[in-house]
Point group: D2
Chain length 146, copies 4
C-alpha cells in the first residue's frame, strides 16, 4: 500500500497567517485562537480528502467538540505563516479523535500540538451514531498509533 | 418636552471588563471587539427595559445588523471597566438604529461612539416588517433627535 | 483553619453572560470561547484574593499558557449566565496550574471542566522563576488534591 | 499605462474562507468578524505592493484605527470563499483611509463594503506624522475618487 509507513505526512494541511486581531498584549497569538486554527485545519483536511463538513451538516449531523487538549511549545507572532497538520486517530460511530501539529513555516519550529474529541450529534444536540455513510470514509482515513 | 429632560441618561447600561484575550499587540483592546461590546450593551438595554432578545428570536425574528459605524476616541486597556450606554434613536417596522457611547468607568473618558442599524429578518434571512407586538415597545423607548 | 475543608468553595468566582457573538451556527457557544472565559475567571479569582494580574505584568512577568485542557459537558447558549469557578492546584516557581468548573447559573448544570498550565516568562518570552513576591501569595492560595 | 482607468482592479486582494468559529446562531458570519477580514485584507494589500506592516511597526509606528464603517449587503456563510479588495483612498501624514469590498467568490455577490480611517501613532499611542519613508509609498498607491 502506497501510503503505509509515512501515511500522515501526505494528509492535507492548511496554511494560515496569524492575524493582527489574533495577537494579545504579550505580542503573540492568544492561546484561545489555536482551537480556531485547529478547526480550520480539520475542515481543510476533510475537504482535501473528499469529505465536506457542509455535507455532514446537511445530513443533520454535527461533530460537537467534547474535549480539547493543547500543548503550547513556541509563540506564534503576527504575520507568521502557520501550517496546521491534522490527523484522524480514532474513528468510531460515537467518537472521533483528531490530532494536530502546528508548525511555523519559516523555520519549521513546532508551535503547538493538540487534539480534539468529537461526538456526533443530531440537530437537537443529542449524541447519535455516525451513519455508515460517514463512518466508513472516516474510518478509512484513520491513522491510529503513529 | 417629550423626553423629560434627561431621559436617555436613565437608559440601562452595561458594565464590562476588557478581557486579556481582547487586547492586541499594540497593548489595547482590538477595534473589532467594540461591535461585540455594543451588541452586549444592546442586549442588556433590552433586558433592562423589559424586552428579551431571546423572546424576539423565539418569535422567528432576528435583528440583523445592516450597518455599523464606530469612532474610536481613546484606547481601552486590559482590565479597564467600560460602561456601554445604548440608546434607540430610530424605530420603524423595517429599521432600528441604536447609538452607543463607551466610557471608561475609572475616569469617565470617552472611549468610542458608535451606531448599528438593524433590519428585522425572518429565519431564512429575508427582511420582514417588525410585528406590532415588538414595534410598539421599541417605538415607545425610542429617543430620536438628541 | 477557618477555610479548611471546603476551602475551594469560597474561592472568588466570575459570573458572565454568553454573548451573541460567542455562539456559532450550531446555536451554542463555540468551544474556542471557553479558554477566554477561563482566563477572565482566573483574573477575577486573582482580584478577589488581592492579587492583580496588572501588577504581575507591571513587574515584567507574564503567566504564559503552556497547556490547556477542556472537557465539554453540556452546551452553553446565548444569554446563559455562566459561573466560572477557579482554583489554583499547583504553585511552583516555574509552573502554575489552575482548574476550572463552568456551571450554568440557572440550573447548576455543569457546562465544562478545564485546566490551564502557566509558565512565568519575562518580557522577551523566556521562562523565568516566579520571584518570592509573587510565588508566596500564589502558594498560600494553592489547594492541591481536592 | 496599463493600470490607468481601472487601477483599483489590479490592487492585490486577499481570499479567505469563512471559519466555523466565525458563524453565529443566525447561521451566518457574525458582523464583528468583518473588521478582522478587512484588517487581513489591508495587510495583504500592503504585502502585495511591497509594503510590510511588520516593517512599519518595526519603525515604531502603528496605524491605529480611528474610525470604522461597514455596510452589510448579503450574509456570508461558513466555508464561503470571500475576496477582500482593499483600496487606499486618502494618504496624508496624519490620516490614511482605506476602503474595502467583500465579495463572495462563488457567485460574485457583494457581501459588504467598508472603510477604516487610521492615525499613525508612536509606541506610547500618541498621534504622530507618518515619516516620508512611509508616506511617500502610501501616497503613490493612493487612488482617490474612483
Amino acid at each position: 500500500m502506497a501510503r503505509a509507513g509515512n501515511a500522515s505526512f501526505s494528509d492535507p494541511t492548511l496554511q494560515l497567517r496569524v492575524r493582527f486581531a489574533e495577537t494579545d498584549q504579550m505580542g503573540v497569538a492568544h492561546h484561545s485562537v489555536y482551537p480556531v486554527w485547529m478547526e480550520a485545519g480539520r475542515v481543510e483536511w476533510m475537504r482535501g480528502l473528499g469529505l465536506s463538513y457542509i455535507e455532514v451538516e446537511a445530513d443533520g449531523i454535527s461533530l460537537a467538540v467534547s474535549a480539547l487538549e493543547l500543548s503550547y511549545r513556541a509563540a506564534a507572532h503576527f504575520d507568521d505563516l502557520i501550517t496546521v497538520a491534522t490527523r484522524l486517530v480514532t474513528a468510531r460511530s460515537r467518537l472521533l479523535r483528531f490530532e494536530y501539529r502546528l508548525v511555523r513555516a519559516s523555520d519549521d519550529s513546532l508551535i503547538a500540538t493538540g487534539a480534539t474529541v468529537h461526538v456526533p450529534t443530531d440537530p437537537s444536540g443529542r449524541a447519535m451514531r455516525l451513519p455508515a455513510k460517514w463512518l466508513e470514509p472516516f474510518a478509512a482515513l484513520c491513522r491510529p498509533g503513529d
